[in-house]
Symmetry: C2
Subunit: 209 residues, 2 copies
């Protein structure tokens, strides 16, 4: 059973990594929200109407009934976690919450960001999104992403999920990064068996498939 | 009165932006923790002993009595906020928490990160920290930081603090970014009156001074 959350609208952005993080988070919670599709490729995020909602010109954006806007993927997830705590995706105890946050940030800063930089600075299709493209920075980040995947592979040798024995938001950030390797022109790490086992397992979840 | 938190040690890193964020957060909470100084400049963060604690080789790191390690600045702050909620620095209600997180992340992604990139990719003193330095990326980020400060100046026209009418972690991320402009070789935005008013006011707090 999916619960439709009333009194709010999600300005969504298709298959891009950040919109997908919220989509997966919602599906894991068994929640849905009325969607408004915003087209990143035609720069709809830069329209005056959208800019008035989020001056950062990025999706996703959660808009509440009174017009209050929550931007930033993890801030939207935080709101959803607070109003619908079960199942918990951001930790329960103080230590849990801190360790999930630690891993979520590690995934974001050392995996999602390098993969996104590689795409945005190297792919011709991102030239209108990233001005100017700095090709050298893209190439450096392909290397950083690979290096982090090697670290992650060693970590996953002894546990099921990124932040421990439960699925959390850190796995969500991880899998959208992994699935964005191809646009970033980074080889899938098929030689890293623990990371590959983890990815197969996460991709099989209904929320991700 | 400062409360000394027992049963934990903070691996600290002097005046670098991330260690400073935790230092200010602690001071605002009226808390202190036993400190171990780690020297970033001599690459002590890359020693085998430190790498065993935090494989990301970064400070700050909070180490609990049982050896559990919490790395990542905001994860450490989250833990402190959970065990000592007053005064709240990360919001109280669900909406509060989400809006503080939104602003904290905006400050981090659009202010601290560009200023740090400018420093790390342009400053000769950072050549051993950032390999390779990509000068063009540093220069692009000097521009990004200035652009974000102009946005922030407009936002601060109508409110006292970054996330609303209360001091929060978003102000902490903001002020350490502002105070890192010089190492990033970015001009202080003295022409932006609202941002400058905000910075003067934050710098005057005992936690920051």
């Amino acid at each position: 059973m999916v619960e439709m959350l009333g009194g709010m609208r999600l300005h969504d952005g298709g298959r891009a990594p950040n919109p997908r993080r919220v989509q997966i988070f919602l599906a894991e919670k068994g929640l849905d929200i009325e969607r408004v599709q915003v087209d990143i490729n035609t720069l709809e995020t830069q329209s005056p109407q959208f800019t008035a909602k989020n001056p950062m010109q990025r999706v996703p954006v959660l808009e509440l009934e009174d017009g209050t806007v929550i931007a930033e993927t993890v801030a939207i997830c935080r709101y959803l976690e607070e109003i619908r705590p079960d199942p918990p995706l951001m930790g329960v105890t103080a230590l849990d919450k801190a360790l999930v946050e630690m891993w979520q940030r590690r995934m974001e800063l050392n995996f999602l960001l390098p993969v996104a930089f590689a795409f945005r600075h190297l792919h011709p299709g991102a030239a209108h999104l990233e001005i100017p493209q700095v090709a050298e920075w893209g190439t450096v980040n392909q290397g950083k992403a690979r290096e982090f995947m090697e670290f992650l592979d060693r970590e996953l040798q002894n546990r099921e999920f990124i932040a421990g024995d439960k699925f959390t938001i850190a796995d969500i950030t991880g899998i959208v990064s992994y699935q964005f390797l191809k646009p970033g022109r980074i080889a899938y790490p098929d030689d890293l068996q623990h990371l590959t086992r983890w990815a197969r397992q996460i991709v099989a979840r209904p929320s991700v498939a």
